[in-house]
């Protein structure tokens, strides 16, 4: 790492911590109070907007659907096959993990990773209610708590944009995937460089 990069990393560290805290707070709020109105669409309304099949939403536990806070539908292009191992990066309340579990079947595996251990517990409980098994590990997307070359497919929904270190995150996806493994994600991107005042505003990161 260059001196400049080291300096920037040190300068950003406190802000990164504040933003992680705000992101945790926002998604916990969505999970705890899904009936509240946020400035992004969430719950069944959002899932239907992104083309989630109604049969999935009817079949999944209500709590998993109500707390959905994705920005698209990674299942449209994931082409999951029975027996595959899937990593749901930023698994939240578990809706995407549950749907992935139905697609890979009992011979497959669904592993979640979430920054918030309470959300991990909630996702595992929702998966059990849906008749499936999901293992969720609390950890960060910059250091995914999984071995090298251990998953067939990574899905993720509106999560990677929340990282200060996106290059590191993408490198982690590469590391945990088996050769021939696939990524299917939905996320937010910006065509223009955001102003420093926006970058420094934790509430906007959690939007």
């Amino acid at each position: 790492m260059s001196d400049l990069a080291t300096q920037e990393s040190v300068e950003q560290a406190p802000l990164e911590g504040v933003i992680k805290g705000e992101v945790l707070r926002m998604y916990q709020e969505v999970a705890d109070h899904p009936d509240k109105e946020f400035h992004f669409f969430h719950g069944r309304e959002a899932a239907e907007m992104f083309g989630y099949e109604r049969e999935w939403l009817d079949r999944a536990p209500a709590g998993a659907v109500a707390s959905f806070a994705g920005v698209g539908n990674p299942h449209l292009r994931s082409q999951l096959q029975p027996g595959e191992t899937v990593l749901d990066l930023g698994s939240g309340a578990g809706l995407d993990s549950i749907i992935a579990g139905w697609q890979v079947g009992p011979s497959g595996h669904v592993l979640g990773v979430d920054l918030n251990p309470h959300m991990c517990a909630k996702a595992e409980a929702h998966a059990a209610l849906a008749g499936g098994v999901m293992e969720c590990r609390s950890g960060t997307m910059e250091d995914i708590p999984m071995p090298d070359a251990s998953v067939d497919v990574v899905i993720s929904n509106g999560v990677i944009n929340l990282s200060f270190r996106k290059r590191r995150v993408i490198g982690e996806l590469y590391r945990v995937l088996k050769p021939g493994g696939r990524v299917s994600i939905a996320d937010i991107v910006s065509a223009k460089q955001l102003s420093q005042s926006i970058v420094n505003d934790p509430k906007l990161w959690a939007s």
Partner: protein
Amino acid sequence: MFTLFDHAGFKRVKSAVVPGFRFRKASTQDSAEAYGVKAVMMTAQKP
């Protein structure tokens, strides 16, 4: 983000805009449009 996938060594990197994505609040949506903020789907494969 497309470039990050490419540089990481992924192949067959593809992206498409998520149709219909928008923020609930008009003021947030206006700011998002001003900065070209959009939701995308991305797929890629590890060789």
